[in-house]
Symmetry: C2
Subunit: 327 residues, 2 copies
């Protein structure tokens, strides 16, 4: 190997950062290159207690730093993060409450750390290396159990005055609508999430003869119906499941039309588990978007795309955000 090639590889090793994605069920970590490539990945169960979560984060980072020279760590966490990216203000599924996570981890590993909301981190990942790599403005909409998202405006992650921007699952789409986990009613995620899809499927399964194939897959019990069952059947041509995904796509497209009126993104990326339904969902979402976009005839239209980084978007985005840390 020529010397300059060795130098190059050394430089690349030097400029790795670690991304950690802390979810309610798993903690994923990876060492990531400046090009967004994950050179090693680790995955652990999320412990039930918050002390266990903190020490697991430290453990996976230490593990990776044994084999990689790393300059910074980005932690994407499902919760509200303070504007200075230091503190978890509140996490709905973990017991962090005004937890100074950045300093807590930094003290133990001796490398600069930033904390970011997981959906924001994912939006940044898709913006830098995924569906929005060619755009200046991106809206990521992740459709899973809930609806999450993140917004990139003119090349900058929109964090908001308090660090809690981009909670697109919780703008209200139906006054007095379905109750939401956030304590309010009629939030977007109550109509455009996997949870909404399953709720609609279970309701129809009890009353609609067309639900036969879906009920059969669920062993005859409406309560056993899951999102992946619906997606699978829809992809194999089941009319009711296609219809259910279509309804979800319609809500999704109409909600995105509202978001486009406010944010005017160039690209909307659809991610999350439900996006695995692919074109079946996106085709309907696009049509509903076109029909619902205010002043549609008189303005340029955004591009709707599937997200490309899958469930590594948050990890990759967090690692990349950590790259700019200056403290």
């Amino acid at each position: 190997m020529p010397f300059d090639e060795i130098d190059k590889r050394r430089t690349e090793r030097m400029s790795l950062t670690i991304g950690v994605d802390v979810g309610g069920t798993k903690i994923a970590a990876g060492a990531v290159t400046p090009d967004g490539e994950v050179v090693e990945r680790l995955r652990r169960q999320t412990p039930d207690d918050v002390a266990g979560v903190d020490s697991t984060i430290v453990d996976v980072v230490r593990d990776l730093t044994q084999r990689h020279e790393v300059k910074a760590v980005g932690i994407g966490a499902a919760g509200w993060i303070s504007a200075d990216r230091a503190t978890v203000i509140f996490a709905p599924n973990l017991d962090w409450r005004d937890t100074a996570l950045r300093d807590l981890v930094e003290r133990q590993i001796g490398i600069p750390v930033i904390v970011e909301n997981d959906a924001n981190a994912a939006a940044w990942g898709e913006f830098r290396f995924g569906a929005g790599a060619d755009a200046d403005d991106l809206l990521l909409v992740t459709v899973g159990t809930g609806v999450g998202g993140g917004v990139v405006v003119d090349g900058q992650l929109m964090r908001g005055a308090f660090g809690v921007a981009g909670e697109i699952g919780h703008f209200r789409v139906v006054p007095g609508g379905h109750e939401c986990g956030c304590g309010r009613f009629g939030c977007f995620e109550q109509y455009a999430s996997g949870t909404a899809l399953v709720r609609a499927a279970r309701e129809r399964a009890s009353v609609d003869a067309a639900a036969g194939p879906l009920l059969e897959v669920a062993g005859g019990e409406p309560d056993k119906i899951t999102g992946p069952m619906i997606t699978r059947l829809a992809n194999s041509g089941d009319p009711m499941c296609i219809d259910l995904l279509g309804d979800l796509g319609t809500w999704l497209g109409e909600g995105i039309a509202s978001l486009a009126a406010i944010l005017d993104p160039g690209v909307v990326a659809l991610g999350g588990g439900v996006s695995e339904a692919g074109e079946l969902l996106m085709g309907r979402a696009e049509r509903a978007f076109e029909a619902a976009l205010p002043g549609s005839e008189y303005r340029p239209h955004l591009q709707m795309r599937l997200a490309t980084l899958g469930n590594e978007a948050g990890l990759i985005g967090a690692a990349d955000l950590a790259r700019d840390v200056r403290r």
Copy 2:
């Protein structure tokens, strides 16, 4: 006068810019200092024909440049403006369609020109010199015939990928709701504007005995009821008019809660004609906001304020935006 004082004044004159606010009924222009002070103002009727509008803009600018040394001109126009701030893509109340307004005016006056959406310009004005002068992130909500607005994120005006961000009057708040001028249904401005206020008042005037005082002011004809009548009566204690403004405030606060979930501004400024109802409107808007904000208990709250620049916000903001022009 000492020489350094003369020099100072000369420098101040040198650094004036002109702001022009082009509305459906009037064209207002002013020469503006770097501190946002309007040193001279002109006002003309908006001509019916688009050629007349263009030449009136040129006229007022020429008029001001005869008495002031001006380095750039910012035009705020009620329409969709391209991302490069050169072209009016579409204006609902004026006949501009893909009109290269910037070049058209620049050619005739020989000074750099930028064009901006009027509500964006107003948001920038309030951010720089008004209700948001102490903030990094501002949402301006103007409540007049419709609902307009603009968004400043981390010190930057959010223009969007195509220049049409901040159309907050047109996110959907009621599926299948009132028809909107934009061609869609259920837009925010159909529930939180002066038009909505008057519609509700006229409806109640026909059926509600409490409408007596309002009907009297309107000469007994529900169709003659106007927004200022309602505001005036409410301010003098009329229960039904207080109630009508309260309903408007509730829609407004609930809509702002949705916008806060998405944008997380530090300050929301309420402007436009209806905001002259002052605390009567804002008190209810604030209470509705608190009640509707998702996860309200677990996050820092924005401040809601009345806008302070009145109907000069657009002119002042456009003048200030022109200050940074580099071409």
